[in-house]
Amino acid sequence: MAFAVKFENVYKEYPFYQHITAGFKSFLLNLNKNILSLKKSKFTALKGVSFEVKKGETFGIIGRNGSGKSTILGLIVGVIKQDRGVIKTNGKISSLLELGAGFHPDLSGIENIILNGILMGNTRDEMLKKVDEIIEFSELGDFIYQPLRTYSSGMYVRLGFSVAVHIEPEILIVDEILAVGDLNFQEKCQKKMTEFKESGTTIVIVSHDMMSIAKLCDRVAWIDSGGIMAIEEPKEVIMKYIKYLDQQITPSIYEDQAVDEPKIQPATAELSVSQIDSDFSQATEESESLSQPSKSLSWWDSPQIMKQCVEIITGVTGSSDIYFYEFLKKQYLIGSLKQGLSISNRLRGIESNFILYDICKSFDIIHEGDKITELIGGKSNFKKDYYDLFLCIDILHRIENLEVFLQDIDNSLKNKGIIIALEYIGPANFQCSQKDSEIAGMILKGLDIPISTEPTVDSTILSDKTNSVNSTNVIPLMKRFFDIVAIRYFGGPLYDLLLNKIVHNLDMNDGKNIEIIKIIVQMEQVLIKERILDNYYACIIAGKKSDK
């Protein structure tokens, strides 16, 4: 198939210009150093990048800040030039790199439409033909005759988007703009993107919004430190990326504890960075062997199982992380919070922390280990009036004195702060009620899954004080301390069983078993709706009480 964009072993280096642009005085003062560094100091943004985007394909690029994503886009658009390697593009390019680049505040909307269109490679006649359509799409009405300086920032972006998508590009370059304007307009943008996709436009898209990437893209490249880590199906790449991020964060926070803390995770499950880099197929094989773990392991000890399980469950119920992520997005909270704290039992930490990347500019993490045990034991030393967001995952119900704990969180939350809790709210100590366990047993029997639904108390859970003493108090107490914004329930006893038992006994690589799990989850949703089963899990979003 013909290509739309092709990179062959592309290198890009940036010299450090600040020696010169910082001015003559500082240049002279550090003359020696500067001359040396002028010769040497270079930042290599891309190190031999090769990939091909096929015609009509939607191609995503993900990676941390500074990994080289923007450089790649700049090279495709042609505003910068590579130092080595070959770049070929095939087709008219329109970029949504910065909406409204080149707009002038003193010109009217219409004048800007035409000027912008011409800058992007159209003739005046072409633009005059499209101008009505663009005005209609932008929903600006009579404002279109007013100078741009009278526009709100939302209107500005809407106009920019409208121009960019109406110049009939063959290759569309999108950089993190999927959330422009109000909800209505966002929907329109999404629709337009789908239209582009269907009409065979090649789309190259950079985003931190993994949901959109997964939804839109055919293939995704993951870039890190200027090199390609993986190019595959979106889900595969995103999971690798998330896992990698998780490993990047955890060690630095637990360095001081690492010595005396027993390793909970099996060694094979820890994919080192270099392993991912050098040979991913091998690493995958290694984790696959974990899908039948020994009995001594808890289900969440295997990232592989967890990944599949979480994927299936959230895929079917549309719940938990994805739900609150979507919610926050709609509340325009993405990127608006400064400081967050994530407290989590290991099991859901990975996805959630990655979501935090988008919500908060910076955040602390308390995962497993001594710190968590301390928290459960009642020692919380949160900084006062410091956090904008608390993310509590599978932790509140384990806290012995939840009232004090929530009070501490309240004190630590800044004004207008938010708390999100993903919690078990079922019967205390995971003691499934007689009725629930009977129903669950019937269903499992019907599906021919040989698992006892008798409630069992896991001795390891009790011994490390992670029993769910306060599960039924979570929602009432949260209501007392915070203003509840939303509660979303996402599973009952079956979900619980699924997570704690079933995945041990089923081969998760077998497509049939995956189907079974889907059926169980769906069935449970129906039973909960009919009030035959109770909710055991909930996502609670709450805000700091405003009357203080």
């Binding site: 910068i80 390019i93 910065e98 080149g102 010109l107 000027l115 800058l119 003739t123 100078p147």
Partner: protein, 256 residues
């Protein structure tokens, strides 16, 4: 950079120039009058200083002044605006791929149009002093326009590119144009320059241009030998300027 038709580049230049024209005085009440008011005010100051106080022995001194001052303003404004043109258009440079030189062309054209609009003022003074307009104007104006345009473009494009890497350039340019103004025979005539400096003054490519603009308006004469020199000068300057620009243009998006 992509291949585009001539029609496209024409549209691009026209719309960018239009934008500059619209924007410059869009929010002011007197609008385009300001582009005449400024050089006229300058002319008035020089007239008082040189004609009334210092009694410079030049006839029709007002006409003499403005017929050199107006084309000089074109050059000076263009060069000074160009210095920051890429900086001001940073979002565009960083995100959109188009021929960057078009921005400079539009800037120079914009100032050229302002100059063209001020020619009627010169004509008015020509009538006022009872001088006969010459038919030579119909040849001279287009010729001088082309040469001035090429020369201004050459200076502008080099300065604008260098300024991105060496921001002191814009200050240097503003001092440079002020100095050049005084070593170019605009407020005085080239005959008043002492013989031993005369060669030096005439080596200045801008002198030839300004003197010819003025002579055309005040005397109705054109020195075609001079024009040839000026034309060659302008081509050399434009070539060097463009080469400097071409060497640096790929780094624009990186330093902005």
């Amino acid at each position: 950079m992509g291949q585009h038709s001539f029609k496209y580049y024409r549209d691009l230049v026209i719309s960018l120039t239009q934008k500059e024209l619209k924007v410059r005085y869009k929010r002011s009440f007197l609008g385009y009058l300001w582009s005449i008011a400024n050089p006229l005010a300058l002319a008035l100051v020089f007239f008082i200083a040189f004609k009334i106080f210092m009694k410079i022995p030049i006839e029709n001194y007002t006409l003499f002044l403005i017929s050199g001052l107006f084309p000089w303003q074109w050059f000076s404004n263009s060069v000074n605006t160009s210095a920051t043109v890429f900086v001001i258009n940073a979002p565009l440079i960083k995100k959109v791929n188009f021929r960057r030189e078009v921005l400079i062309i539009a800037t120079v054209l914009n100032d050229m149009i302002h100059f063209l609009l001020s020619i009627p003022v010169i004509v008015l003074f020509v009538y006022f002093y009872g001088i006969k307009p010459s038919l030579l104007w119909f040849v001279g104006i287009p010729l001088l326009l082309i040469i001035s345009f090429i020369m201004t473009f050459g200076f502008s494009i080099a300065i604008s590119a260098i300024n991105l890497f060496f921001r002191d350039m814009e200050r240097i340019v503003s001092i440079f144009t002020t100095l050049m103004f005084y070593v170019t025979p605009i407020i005085y005539s080239e005959d008043m320059v002492p013989a031993k400096y005369k060669g030096l003054i005439l080596m200045n490519p801008l002198s030839i241009l300004m003197v010819n603009w003025r002579n055309m308006f005040t005397k109705g004469t054109l020195d075609f030998k001079d024009l040839t020199y000026a034309f060659i000068y302008s081509l050399i300057i434009a070539t060097i300027g463009y080469l400097v620009f071409r060497r640096l243009k790929w780094r624009f998006a990186e330093v902005l």
